[in-house]
Each structure stands twice: as structure tokens, then as C-alpha cells.
Symmetry: C2
Subunit: 342 residues, 2 copies
DNA sequence: ATGAAAGCGCTAACAT
DNA sequence: ATGTTAGCGCTTTCAT
């Protein structure tokens, strides 16, 4: 037996297959590693031997086993639908090239990093994509352990490649649109500031307000400790209770935009007439809600796809030159910001 | 070198560690397998040796490596938020017991099964939970390959344990509630009929209608090929275009309920006054939507947790007696079904 | 293309 | 608790 902690029992050994098929263990080894030519006839013998051992997937395993290994995609939360399409994209890229991809949900920080690295070792992951915010110390530690690509959220510090968007620019385009509609008293509902995307969106918001000479009301800038509908509802209720009546909200997530719309309804404010609302991510909720939500669409599928491609490149090509990818976003105008709705 | 396709390079060998630490390979082996006692001093030596080799996670790896292996949780779609909490539950159960859990998204059928089994082999999965509909042939094949537990969706055919709810009963309770509100002309928007849950919910719907002596209009029973908001909108638009005006809809998913509400709004029908709507799953959208959606809540976290527990039991305890778990559901009444809303 | 046999990495049995 | 040594499974080399 080998390294494994031996949880999987009843493992079939080459010796057995060799005996049943009348071949040598060397040939069996060659077949499964795919590192040498074997005759079709010989393969057939092995397939039959496997069948006799109650393993019916022999043929495929033989054909495909020589290809890529396992990649892990880590996300902070299954609950945020933003990641769904990203992972579909990543999975496509992996499958196309004969690699496997599995997904892990974990907030990576000082207290979880040990177990996380253990996980990567245990499954013999060949590479990792993170869509998380990872504190610098942990990021560096991971990068030492395994080929790494950052997706969406990233840190430029350690020359780790990333695939992302320009959050600041995307935010400015949405803000300029809001301002062009005549909105002046614009609030901002943001996610956790430890995320780079949150810092960049905040910066984009500030720049747009300043550039247009609009006064910024700090009480209208909400920093939530996480992307949470309920937390956003509470925070906005507090604001409205103070009597403030902004005429627009830019939100760092569609989920937060949905919360704004809900609270507006409770206070008898019409969206978009009284309050225009813009979200971020173009998640399903943005077109299911009433009114439908104007939002910034990220190329999620492509983000995941490119991240995975980049990772495979790095895993196979050792020390390829570092290159990053920045993809375009798109403002999708829906009911929550239009002046006149049907 | 061993079995591995050798994608991961630069592997550290026990011999190296032994030389640097001045110990024997046997001791290194003992430390990593955890199958024998080793002195703390000795461990320290190894930790230092690992550090010298640029591996900084040595200590933890040593401490924890003796524990469980890898479990895989397979779901049909990342896009359906219903699975988010299930996976959190499963992950908790795994972590508590020192097992690792990764998630895979795959529709399992005749054309994907080979690659899927290859995946399980490649990552050396010790066990599998499926939340998918898996056709009988593929289900049997998987069960031969690896310890298996079914979660939510299941097939009784091959004595594979499952953790689920009573879909038929849950549906009847919702239907009885609708009927008690005086609704008589009740439509049903269902998911793909290949899913057992869809068949059971349809049956529950039929039984309730019959029991109450209500006439069933087959054109008001919609079978969608997948849980899709857009498909539901189209189907409902067709119905409303024919002039039909049911006074309630029971939906096999909150996503479909959201679609009903949207289409009702387009046709000037008030929810719940003109049309009462009930969904299924208590997904986030159900309380974000306006009106909020009455729904059947499943104990998602517990479903995932129990499925994972059951799996670990089966993996470790070989031939434990088969036992299944059926958990309770709860009807959560919200605005979309209440006669008088604020 | 295949087998025989040597080599390698890991584990287990035995001795201390 | 640790080292020695035998043994096992897999890969690779060499010969055919």
C-alpha cells in the first residue's frame, strides 16, 4: 500500500489484474499511466479483467487517465449567486482540457488556513483558484504551496496572476449615468471594506461625486460587514428613520439593491421616481425583482473560464511569465433607474 | 513514485526529510500516517526539516493527517440557491469529524457518467453524496464504485440510503391551506418530471384537489423541463393569454413562484387578492420579492448535515445496516397568500 | 509491444 | 519511541 490514509478500502491491485488478464504488472502500469503505447488487444484483455473484478468503468479510465489532474476553486460563499456562473465557466475550461475541477467553500484566514492547506494536500490538488479575499500572509503561504490564480478579488502584492474587472471604472460609469439622470443626493451601500472590490467601488463613487461637484453625505455611505439582505434592510431603515431622503442609491451588489427597494416600499417611496437604484453583478434577483434592477453586469462565465485557463497554463508550464486579465463590464439599464416606467 | 499521474511536481520525499532531520524514513512515515506514537521532540525536528525544504505547514499536516479522507458532494446546479445551505450543512458535518468535502456540479447521465467516475477515482474520493436525479443505470454503477448517500432527490431501487423530506405530504399541507382560504381554481407549476420530488409534488397536488372535490384543469398544470424563471414566465404568459384566470398557483420552487408574481403584475392581477401564490424551498428570493412569498421550508442545513454524517458512517463502518432519514418541512406564510395585506 | 527484473517510495514487523 | 529490515505496490529500464 502507498501513502494514502487508506480510507478507501478494497482497492484493486495491479497484480490481480495482471493475473486475471494474463499480462504482467508492467503492462497494467503502462496502461493506467498512459506513458507508453499498448496494443488495443491488450487493453481489451484488461477491460475484461476489470469487469471480472466488478469494475465496469475500466475502458474509460484507461483511455483518459493520462490527462490532467485536479483543480480546486475556492469561493467565500455558496449563498451568493454571483459565483454560480463563474464556477460554470471554470468547470467548462477544466473539462475541455481534460482536467477535473471541484469547488470548496471557505473563508480563508488565520484560523482556517491550516485546514485549508491540508485539504489541498489531501486531495493532491494541482492548482487553485480563489475568488476570496485572502489576507496577505495566507495568500503568500498558499502561493508557496501550490500554483495559484486569483479571480475577481485579488491582491497585487506577490505577483500572483489574477482575472478580474475594473471595479472603479464600472462604478464611475454607473454613477455618471445616475448623475446624468439628475440625481444629486446619492447614497452608497457597500460590502465589507476588506475586499478590494469594495474599496475600489467606494473610490469610484467618491471620484464621481467629487468630479460632479456633488456634496457627499457620509451618513449615506453604508459599509456592511457582509453582503446580507437583512443587514442592508436594517441599515437603510436606520437612515430613513433619521428623515434622510436620498434620491438614488448605488449598491455594490444586487442583493443590497433589492434591500433598498424593499425599504423604499415600506417608506412609501417609489422606485425609480423618488429613488433610483443601481445594483452590481446582474444576478438573477436583479430581473426577478419588481421593479427590475439596473445593474452592472460582469462577464462571470468568462471570468471563471479565463481564471481556469490561466491556472492550467501555470500548472503545466511551470514558470510562465506572469500575466493578468481584466475584462469589461456592462451597465444594464432596467426599471429601477428609468425616469418613466410603464 | 506512485500511482499518481504526476501532475504535481517537486514532491518532497520521506528520504529527504529523514536526511535533514537525522531520523529514519520509518519515523517520518509514522508521523505522517499517524498510526503510531511519536515524541514531540521528534515532531519538532521534522517540522524544522520541512521548513528547511520550504514547507511551512508541516506541523499541522503532521497533527491532522491521520484523520478522514475526501468526500464529494454532487449537485445539479450552482445556480439554484436551494443547494447553498445544504452544502453548508454537509461541510459542517465533514469538518467536525475531520473529513474534507468538495463540491462538484454535474448532471449525471449516460454521457457524463464516465468522466464523473473518473473524477471520483482521480481525487480518491472516499464517499459521495448526490443531490441529483441520477438515472437508475448510472446510480447503480456509482454505488458499485463508491459508498453513496442520496440527498433530497433519491431512488429506492438499489438500497442506497437517503436523506430527504416527504414531498407529497408537504404539498398537501400547502394545498389544504390554499383551499382553506377559499381558492378553488388552483394551478400548479412544476419542475422536471424525471425528478422524484416533481412526481411526488404533482401527486400531492392531485390528491388534495380530488379530496376537496375541486375540478382539475390540465392546462393549469405546467411541467417545465428545468427550474427556470424565464421558462416559467413564458409558460404562464401563454396561459394568461388564453384568458384563463386561476385564483391561486402552487409552485414547486420559489423561483417559479417569483415568475408567477411577475406575470400576474403584467396582467394587472393583484397578489394575493386575485391570485394567491405559494412557492417551495424558502430560498432568499422568497423574502426579497414583493410581495414576499409564502413557501414550504425544507431543513436544508440539516439535510446536508445528516447526509454527510450518514455517508461517513457508511464509509468507515463498511456494511452498516441501511437506514434512511426523512425530515420535516414547514409552511411559512407570507404576503403572497394572505387575504389582507398592509 | 511486452515481460522480467531492478529500483523506488512507503509501510509494517521486529528488535531494542 | 525509534531504527533496522523485510516486503509490497508501482514504475522504469532493459532485453526481446
Amino acid at each position: 500500500m502507498q501513502t494514502t490514509t487508506d480510507v478507501q478500502k478494497n482497492r484493486v491491485h495491479y497484480k490481480q489484474i495482471a493475473q486475471i488478464s494474463g499480462l504482467s504488472v508492467a503492462t497494467i502500469s503502462r496502461i493506467f499511466t498512459g506513458r507508453a503505447k499498448v496494443a488495443e488487444d491488450t487493453k481489451d484483455k484488461v477491460v475484461k479483467a476489470l469487469a471480472a473484478l466488478g469494475i465496469d468503468d475500466g475502458l474509460f479510465r484507461i483511455k483518459e487517465n493520462q490527462r490532467g489532474g485536479l483543480l480546486v476553486f475556492n469561493i467565500p460563499s455558496f449563498g451568493n449567486p454571483f459565483y454560480a456562473k463563474i464556477m460554470s465557466g471554470a468547470k467548462s475550461a477544466a473539462t475541455q482540457r481534460g482536467w477535473q475541477l471541484l469547488v470548496n467553500e471557505e473563508h480563508i484566514n488565520d484560523s482556517t488556513i491550516d485546514n485549508f492547506i491540508l485539504l489541498l494536500q489531501k486531495v493532491r490538488a494541482a492548482g487553485l483558484v480563489t475568488a476570496n479575499h485572502v489576507p496577505p500572509a495566507q495568500l503568500q503561504r498558499i502561493a508557496k504551496t501550490i500554483p495559484l490564480v486569483q479571480c475577481c478579488e485579488f491582491d497585487r502584492a506577490f505577483d500572483i496572476p489574477y482575472v478580474s474587472i475594473d471595479d472603479s471604472m464600472a462604478t464611475r460609469s454607473a454613477m455618471e449615468y445616475l448623475i446624468s439622470l439628475g440625481r444629486r443626493n446619492i447614497g452608497f451601500v457597500n460590502g465589507p471594506i476588506r475586499y478590494k472590490y469594495a474599496r475600489e467601488r467606494l473610490q469610484g463613487y467618491r471620484e464621481s461625486m467629487e468630479k460632479s461637484g456633488l456634496p457627499m453625505d457620509p451618513t449615506l455611505v453604508i459599509q456592511l460587514p457582509e453582503i446580507s439582505y437583512n443587514l442592508a434592510v436594517s441599515a437603510l431603515t436606520n437612515i430613513f428613520n433619521t428623515g434622510k431622503r436620498p434620491d438614488a442609491f448605488f449598491c455594490a451588489s444586487d442583493i443590497l439593491a433589492a434591500a433598498v427597494i424593499k425599504v423604499c416600499a415600506r417608506y412609501g417611496l417609489k422606485v425609480p421616481k423618488d429613488v433610483a437604484v443601481i445594483g452590481f453583478d446582474n444576478v438573477d434577483i436583479s430581473f426577478m425583482s419588481s421593479p427590475t434592477i439596473t445593474t452592472i453586469s460582469q462577464p462571470e462565465f468568462q471570468l471563471g473560464f479565463s481564471a481556469c485557463e490561466l491556472l492550467i497554463e501555470r500548472v503545466t508550464n511551470g514558470e510562465a511569465p506572469l500575466h493578468n486579465i481584466v475584462l469589461d463590464t456592462e451597465l444594464i439599464v432596467r426599471e429601477s433607474s428609468q425616469q418613466f416606467t410603464t
